[in-house]
Symmetry: C2
Subunit: 431 residues, 2 copies
Amino acid sequence: MVPHLTTALTGPLLDIETKMLENEAAIERWLRTQWLEHTPPFYASVDLRNAGFKLAPVDTNLFPGGFNNLNPAFMPLCVQAAMSAVEKICPEARNLLLIPENHTRNQFYLQNVAGLANILRHAGLNVRIGSLLPEITEPTTLELADGAKLLLEPVKRNGHRIGIDGFEPCAILLNNDLSGGVPEILQGVNEQFVIPPLHAGWHVRRKSEHFTAYDRVVNAFATEFGIDPWLLNPYFGVCGKINFQERTGEECLALNVEALLMRIRAKYSEYGIKSEPFVIVKADAGTYGMGVMTVRDASEVKGLNRKQRNKMAVVKEGLQVSEVIIQEGVPTFETVDEGTAEPVVYMIDRYVVGGFYRVNTARGIDENLNAPGMHFKPLAFETGCSLPDCTQAPDSAPNRFYAYGVVARLALLAASLELEQTAPVESTVAA
Amino acid sequence: MVPHLTTALTGPLLDIETKMLENEAAIERWLRTQWLEHTPPFYASVDLRNAGFKLAPVDTNLFPGGFNNLNPAFMPLCVQAAMSAVEKICPEARNLLLIPENHTRNQFYLQNVAGLANILRHAGLNVRIGSLLPEITEPTTLELADGAKLLLEPVKRNGHRIGIDGFEPCAILLNNDLSGGVPEILQGVNEQFVIPPLHAGWHVRRKSEHFTAYDRVVNAFATEFGIDPWLLNPYFGVCGKINFQERTGEECLALNVEALLMRIRAKYSEYGIKSEPFVIVKADAGTYGMGVMTVRDASEVKGLNRKQRNKMAVVKEGLQVSEVIIQEGVPTFETVDEGTAEPVVYMIDRYVVGGFYRVNTARGIDENLNAPGMHFKPLAFETGCSLPDCTQAPDSAPNRFYAYGVVARLALLAASLELEQTAPVESTVAA
């Protein structure tokens, strides 16, 4: 189930992997000491791109929605990590309310919710699923494609708490990324643990803040282990105040694209990389692969046609795009089932608990794969990411996956820093 | 790889398993809150006996020596749990010194040491192996049967610290049960983390103290979940001041045996169990299955012949037996490869990380299996113990294993209580 790598990979990536293997104990210790100062998010998934010459995260999701895609053999790892997370955040908790996205027709997403609820139950919590959908006015059982059933119940507000009829949760786990803002029923809830905190939602998050934090993390890591940080980090720039519909801000965007392409070209030349650099322009807030463009030349972002502008202007739940991030494109050299593929690594607490490949046979190596036509390869990870085998070649599957797990955890650490920085200042109460 | 159960198991054990499955979230929470008050040992293994009508621990080992027998698929679980343990005990630790038993010729034990060192390395520690053997005066490489190599180095004392040449450990992990007492080189070491603490050694431990603590644990658990504690707990009695060579204390032993058999007969009659009760007489301190006798009638312990007395008088490393525990015998109804079998569950920190079956084709269902002729079935556990499947029958393999994991963790909790009680009182320094 290991993906076929279309390149011999004899370039710098092998160096990175060799370095990671040689320094495994030191890397694990470095991460361990980072977690003494920073609290990992309850869970996260990271999209990686392996270009052969570099290995970098391109997106970090704090409301992961693909637990159904994980290798079932890794479920005990998920349960153990969830136990560890619960022990840290709310050890006394008995009841947990899971609040999913408002997708009642997406079978894959519903299976993710069922899988996540299962993990939490095995970790020792009574789990019920609270829906924010106005049409869920009473307990509603949905039939899943795999034959399982999922019970959605309406969330009720009670003072500064939420719950469902006959169920008083001590903890609320959001699997809803709040793209549309914090729903009224969740505002001011302060007598229960809300996990992750509300400011992890896309109404507050900016990809540029995440990658600024990632810069700090990867620079510290790269200095410690003598690695060029660029090999683990995509360059990026930001363009605020853009309005695709009114065509304002195009000039700023074009200048940023050009500047970024120049920096990438210099690095490509330094490493003797022959391929043509490209950048990805995407909304600075939001997810679901909407509002994403691959750009090879600054001229491409000027004079966009109506269709292109519409595509870029709005992401999930009607969120208007007024800020964009321009990120170095990292081509993927991985293919699975003859489709272009990128690894997605799943983490709970500070542990890598699994992963899968996002595969899109309709997309190229320089395109966003989170798009119609994608499918998932749940069994792609043959071994856990915590077990590199030093007797095998650095590019053998278990070792490549160890490197994936390291880079994913660097992104996880960046998410911790990001959440620390964006946390609302709590009002101090005089004694 | 699931053992064939020779009984249909329609008796009370199914009730226990059903109860455990129904209460899984509550049991996990109960355990979680216990760990808020008690620190789990770094690692432990528990020998269980499944009699069909009861499921109980019969021995708890705080220096587990069978990591080589675990299913390799569970290694990521071991690494994750070891990360969690290290994070709690010594997060800043970089170097760890592993001190094994003085068995340089036992290939299986050496593979255990290699396996344990591997887990710790993957968890982020530099691990070196320090031998207490006087003949190891310089670094010595041993070839293992599986082709791997193991480097043993002489332990050096330096003030209140120990280490090996060129290696300053912050933590010492003992995989040596100290049956012969605390070696001089380890006495007064107080500037490093010693894991587990020295008083976990067999020079201090008494099985009767462990099972006294287990009584407390299992009574609390059984009350919480409405289970007859006897179904999870072997009755026991103790006899101090016995001298097998001089034949003193035989009367005390016989009286205890008779009293215990009477209590067991009453329970057998309550549950309609037809088989003949028996007890196990064994040294209250020590391990390795030496000094163990199966007794069906009090008269059997009077007038032992020389061979029997010699067998009972001495356990590992010449430790003289002067105290014995008389423990209710729990027959095993499990067979693997046509041999009598008992499950051994492995834990690191508070997590079940694997297990195997100890199989002995030369022994009966009422005998000690830790004896010549035993072998191990590493792949016996088909799934992790954290994942019972409620859609399967209570006696299906994953569910039986969940129950094993619960009972093993009750014994782990008892070990925590035991270590708290036997901890030396630290001298208070006036300020």
